[in-house]
Symmetry: C2
């Protein structure tokens, strides 16, 4: 199953040096999940050849403009392009009010169902479960209510070990139980163990998105052991006072967090417009956490 | 005095083929006036090397997203970039409510004075007069309240014809009156005519912006004799029923309007995303009005 992240924008606050504001696209089993929607997201979707009609879910972390000001334009363009499929939007409760006011004054009624699911920034919550993925929101620690999102691949069922089962008197009717880990007990009372007759599924993969936040530790549990961790790293560590004041993280802190939560790989982003060159942010990060990369626009990362 | 128009975006409804949504920048005597502010306007300002801090006035024609969804982002970036100079914004009354709701949920207070001047789409009105220009809004005919804007260079005073005046017993104290067209009558009752003693100023130049509108004729008076007319031409004329239905204009109609109002030059824009090639729109337009051009992004037009 494909589990892939594409960076559409990764600058903080203001666009700079050709870098756009935060937006990411997850392709999970050919369904598209958009995470944050900074200004010009719809333009970048076109640039990278992504049909916005394929987006099924949109997740907005918080209501600072650099994370959602492209949303109303994208929703409108989907409408103008004839979308009829429903779209599920997750975000802070006032987001609905903001969208509604725009649509009201544009005298526009969306022709597709927009299902709005308000998030809360108080505690971790499962906000979506479908056949491919389980998505949880969790509180980050920012100047306004802000949530991160964790995407866990849905555990697959074990596979029947055909070679072994073929030699035993187990009715095929019982195979689904075996796959789900239940042992089969024959009429004669013989126990056939699921664990011995099945091949366990591949370990599930996971992705977590953390932007924007101060390093307060309150969300570390939610991102424990994640395969790919995107964490904001707005500043170099010499700017720690500024990072703290603005409720952001430094590159060094992002690396320390990745280490602490046992992430397999770290992506840093949400770069301050003060940095023309991003390499120093990566070098600082890798001094603590080696398997790290810059969330550069247009780059694609496979989660494995 | 510089009087120059730069196109930042000229696509309608949705971005397409690298074309962004409506935004234009007027440079009038080194002051910058932004007309409409579609999504990604701030990104295009950076692309074209325009410092947004130089923008003094912003004009929004109407509340369809392709004409203003870049505004909140631009206002926020000005704030983050430390603007303290006041900014005057002209637009439909609900625009204030829309901006306020964004700022409220972002917990942001602009550090510069934002002066909001609500426009109305009922009758022509002078909305701005400064030392360089007189700006009038006028109603267009669209699906929601929409205004055009006309920028007229402020008439300069006549110049004293020094050679002639030097030979006459006119006190220098009276020169300002002569410049303003008042004759001077000496104590002996001799009349010295202003018209004979002054050099008339250069004719004033003007620019008019008309987007979006159906060709209803109700605004033709407001754009009479304009030097440069920007008029929307969303469709080719074979799409007239669609243009009418959506309250837009065809390229042919734009040309007919330019001819009727005695415009000196016509710029067409607000191109439908259905057109990859824009040349056919220009050819159709020039079949009726020769001095016409496409409002291509990045192009600059001197008004003369």
């Amino acid at each position: 199953m494909r589990f892939e992240l594409k960076i559409l924008g990764s600058n903080s606050a203001t666009p700079a040096y050709g870098r756009n504001q935060t937006s990411q696209l997850l392709n999970i089993n050919e369904k598209l999940y958009l995470v944050d929607c900074g200004e010009a997201t719809q333009i970048n979707l076109i640039r990278y050849g992504v049909k916005s009609s394929r987006i099924k879910y949109i997740f907005i972390s918080h209501l600072h403009g650099d994370h959602y000001l492209g949303l109303v334009g994208l929703l409108s363009s989907m409408n103008l392009n004839g979308r009829t499929d429903d779209l599920t939007l997750f975000g802070p409760p006032p987001l609905k009010e903001i969208i509604d006011i725009h649509l009201k004054y544009a005298d526009t009624r969306l022709k597709y169902p927009l299902i709005f699911y308000p998030t809360q920034a108080l505690h971790q919550e499962t906000i979506l479960e479908n056949s491919d993925v389980i998505v949880r929101s969790f509180p980050l620690d920012h100047r306004v209510p802000c949530t991160g999102f964790r995407f866990d691949e849905r555990p697959a069922l074990a596979k029947i070990n055909i070679e072994k089962v073929a030699q035993l008197p187990i009715p095929a009717l019982r195979f689904p139980d075996l796959k789900q880990g239940k042992d089969y007990i024959s009429e004669e009372g013989v126990i056939y163990k699921s664990s011995e007759l099945t091949i366990p599924p591949k370990p599930t993969r996971s992705y977590a998105f953390c932007s924007d936040t101060i390093d307060s530790g309150k969300y570390h549990g939610a991102i424990e052991g994640v395969n790919l961790l995107y964490h904001e790293a707005t500043f170099l560590h010499d700017m720690l006072p500024r990072a703290t004041e603005t409720f952001h993280t430094t590159s060094l802190q992002a690396a320390q967090i990745a280490l602490k939560v046992n992430a397999k790989k770290l992506l840093i982003g949400h770069f301050s417009a003060r940095y023309k060159e991003l390499e120093p942010l990566l070098i600082e990060c890798q001094s603590v956490f080696k398997n790290a990369a810059l969330a550069l626009e247009g780059a694609t990362f496979t989660i494995d």
